[in-house]
């Protein structure tokens, strides 16, 4: 009995030839279908290639219709297990919820020039560091810059969120990742409302850039909005 790697769950349909050629298939049952590929024994390697392949499959399929993307690394031991999964009522409600939605991720990152802006208010520390660029003075200055940056980040993130909240169905806020990262939002929006969101982001960017640079990715499958609260089956 072959093991099946799970990419996500969708509605029954024809798969694009390209995906079929890559060994992707559907296991359908009662209006729902698991997107899987056969897997040989052994662990799933978390390589760049495998991660990108997983994203490619769910994102390609999401272009045409709802896909609940699975987290990377789910392997089901048999077709029966897949059918069991598809029968869960929670799966049906998630599919219904996301029938017409998509996710946009928006990340903000500062240019290094933000440091000059933050540092502008720290003249005495800057002068002291320049006069005697010791490690201690560097830490004192750098710490003050870090605090200023944290305040700036909180302010900008709140401003952006305030403007996006009203036009999103839901928002997930994550920790920004990186020294000059400002914010990291996942927005759930209707598929046909992507353009107004883009326009709003353009508008925000015009007001906050530089030093803030925006990266908007999507429309993606609702990666951040498919949490299941489900009792574990013993």
């Amino acid at each position: 009995m072959s093991r099946l790697y799970l990419y996500g769950i969708t509605r029954p349909r024809d798969l694009p030839q390209r995906l079929q050629d890559e060994g992707i298939s559907l296991v359908p049952a009662a209006g729902r279908a698991a997107v899987v590929s056969e897997l040989s024994e052994g662990p799933v390697e978390t390589t760049r290639r495998n991660l990108l392949a997983h994203a490619d499959v769910v994102e390609q399929l999401h272009e045409d219709a709802v896909v609940l993307p699975a987290r990377f690394g789910y392997v089901l031991e048999s077709r029966d297990e897949v059918l069991e999964l598809l029968a869960l009522p929670e799966i049906e409600s998630l599919l219904e919820r996301h029938e017409k939605t998509c996710e946009l991720t928006l990340r903000g990152t500062y240019d290094e020039s933000v440091l000059a802006e933050v540092g502008a208010g720290l003249q005495s520390l800057r002068e002291a560091y320049r006069a005697a660029p010791s490690v201690d003075m560097g830490i004192a200055l750098g710490e003050a810059v870090g605090e200023g940056l944290a305040e700036r980040r909180a302010r900008d993130a709140a401003a952006v969120l305030d403007r996006l909240n009203p036009i999103a169905l839901d928002v997930v806020v994550s920790e920004p990742n990186g020294e000059l990262a400002a914010f990291n939002f996942a927005l759930l929006v209707e598929r046909d409302r992507v353009e107004p969101v883009e326009a709003r982001v353009e508008e925000l960017a015009a007001g906050l850039s530089p030093p803030l640079h925006f990266k908007l990715v999507g429309p993606l499958p609702p990666y951040s909005f498919v949490r299941l609260a489900m009792p574990a089956v013993a």
Binding site: I9, A70, L85, L94, D111, L115, A116, G119, V217, L220
Partner: protein
């Protein structure tokens, strides 16, 4: 797949376009099915550790201090702010001492955009950060 907006302050990508996007999305998000156990994954630790940046470190502070000092010095040397430098045209930039760094940075940026952003290796995040740094010198005023 990626493109910059005409004003240069938005990067727009229709799909997850690099290891950084995909890592966060596929390892931290996505459908979690408690009833099933994810089978042994190999390599996650290495990949995720690479991405985590410890913000409050001495190293970070020293780099911040150095950066502020450098940006400060450049303004003193040129008696001009970085945006002024760019608004005043390329001849002046060319004669400025900062030329090498500025032009090099912009070339690197153009090259990146030209490549379409669909990066080829796991160093991508460092490159991304490098781009942010370079951009501060460019400020985008010439776009």
């Amino acid at each position: 797949m990626q493109r910059e907006s005409s004003a240069g302050y938005i990067t727009r990508a229709p799909r997850s376009s690099g290891l950084a996007d995909v890592l966060e999305i596929l390892l931290d998000r996505g459908l979690v099915i408690d009833a099933y156990v994810r089978v042994s994954l190999v390599g996650i630790e290495l990949l995720t550790i690479d991405l985590r940046v410890v913000i409050a470190s001495v190293d970070t502070y020293l780099r911040f201090a150095e950066a502020v000092n450098r940006l400060d010095l450049r303004q003193v040397d040129d008696s001009k702010s970085v945006p002024d430098l760019f608004q005043s045209g390329t001849e002046e930039v060319a004669s400025s001492k900062t030329k090498g760094a500025v032009e090099g940075g912009m070339d690197a940026i153009r090259e990146k955009i030209g490549l379409g952003g669909r990066g080829g290796d796991d160093d991508e995040d460092e490159e991304d950060e490098g781009r942010s740094r370079s951009r501060s010198r460019g400020r985008g005023n010439d776009r």
